[in-house]
Symmetry: C2
Subunit: 363 residues, 2 copies
Amino acid sequence: MRSDGYLIGEADLVPLSLGAALLGTGGGGNPYIGMLRARELVRKGAEIRVIPLEALKDDEWVSEVGGIGAPVVGVEKVEEGGECLRAMRAVEEASGKRFSAVISAEIGGSNAMEPLIAAALAGIPAVDGDGMGRAFPEVQMTTYMIYGADVSPAAIADEKGNVVVFRNIIDMYWLERFARDVAVGMGAGAGLAVAPMRGDFVRRTAVPGTVTQALSIGRTILEARAKRRNVVDEVCASTGARLCFTGKITDIERRLEGGFARGSAKLVGSGAWNGSEARIAIQNENLVLWVDGEPVVMVPDLIINLELDTGEPLTTEVLRYGQRVAVIALPVHDLLKTPQALKVVGPAAFGYPELTFKPLEAR
Amino acid sequence: MRSDGYLIGEADLVPLSLGAALLGTGGGGNPYIGMLRARELVRKGAEIRVIPLEALKDDEWVSEVGGIGAPVVGVEKVEEGGECLRAMRAVEEASGKRFSAVISAEIGGSNAMEPLIAAALAGIPAVDGDGMGRAFPEVQMTTYMIYGADVSPAAIADEKGNVVVFRNIIDMYWLERFARDVAVGMGAGAGLAVAPMRGDFVRRTAVPGTVTQALSIGRTILEARAKRRNVVDEVCASTGARLCFTGKITDIERRLEGGFARGSAKLVGSGAWNGSEARIAIQNENLVLWVDGEPVVMVPDLIINLELDTGEPLTTEVLRYGQRVAVIALPVHDLLKTPQALKVVGPAAFGYPELTFKPLEAR
């Protein structure tokens, strides 16, 4: 094992899961159960090492892993724990390549924890970075896929022992389709490992430093709470997030559709937004925020609901009528704002062709 | 290549496809397009050799292949031709075993042709037998699976180049589920190859001689037509089939559901059945025949619709209002009538728990 990077200790897991929930922009699955599993591992002596992107050698093989399914299912259908590792092993077998590091598909939500667990179980380090800098609902929506990663062989595993290998897949959209269909068959919760990526490719295409970023956000939240400060203000101050709306949820519509949680939330304003109305569109994650009918923030930028009083990040499956929330926004990493990336993760890719992406910073 | 068995020549393909359509009991896909593909191969010099079950050596590896999907789709979505071969190759890669013979999952319908084509492309013989002695809609409904064949690794391939490997699957029902989901994603038509079977296992569990049987039935039909005899009578006389109903289709209900063609047909009687009514339940294949409300034939026995005048076997997707048909029945092979088999292919397995299987011979 490499000596560079740092170890994730037991005390880091709660702040990490809290920061990951925030970066999940409502989706990515609730990281709480993953946090408990990671804690069990650490208590048993497993070492979770996080290395910087720069530590990757050109010709080593990195595994991108993550849970796949509808986040709302993850709350009730607890993973067995070895899903991502079994998927990784199946990719190794099919590709004839051996992984020496693991990286997250998405830092947002439970997929911040999955790669750490898989890496610890495999006895290799996790990389400080991910393929989204947030959470997105579909497999092709990673910087790796956008910038040309191999699509196959990839593999998916469930908690019962089923392993399905996507041996030859013609493009990333077909991978998403097959992986989604099989994940739904597996009960809408499974571990996915995609094709081996070279170290130099990952260094160039991953969103850097996001494990550390999630840890830092989580610590900010916990510290603000401990000091009885306004958590939302502190998060905005330390991350550069913009406060876009405060108010109360008046309507929430959710349905499970093709393995996704789709729906929308309506809010009436309070404080500076007294008299205003907002709407948030959801596909696992928060996609677009409209205030008084105007699109204010949209994918790929991050739209995050925090509980107004506690600053607790709210995943879309726990949103409910009457909740008082602060909606904050963070600019997405530049790798996700190129024309090539916007084709895959811009508003049109999510069914909003009428919206032209305008970065948060430009507003 | 072995010298035993016999070669399928161009002149055999039409009778074979006709007999296979009859044994398809309404399903298994229309074998006409497969026949055209096989003819192309034969004209280009490919050798289609059929060997008897007894020619299999104990320790050789046999591949069970077949098309998977809704038959109604096969009419419009023509296979590229190499689907089953690519699936076989993926199973060889995943299992580390090399196939030396191919056997059909089901002799009924287009899956009579698929294994012959895959075998010819691979340069190995096809076995004179299959796993159903007819057609059934689901993957677990073969004698191989019923009598304990390995479930994985299996593989599925489409015409675009996608190949998905079912690497570790916990039981045959999960294989059916995953294979069906992926087949639907592939456009409801794909080639499936299941796990390698040993020669001694295939000798013990396959329904023997069904390629030859299909050929013989097809020749009977063509000969009766050529001699302007009553085709339905000749088929019954030569196969031992029982004539169960003659009449006209008055109602046909069909829907595509979870990758299956489901529905039912209603008929009013003519000739000896004047004044009677019949109903046939369908899930890709004909499942149950009721005459005047009484179940007369039911799965796993074979229920076959022949066009009354021409004796042409009618697949469920070409049934239409006003067609005059003879409904004939054939007893299924004994391997499919054991208690173990009836759990998988008896009336209850198809959603008719109120029906207790009573063999055709006992009526």
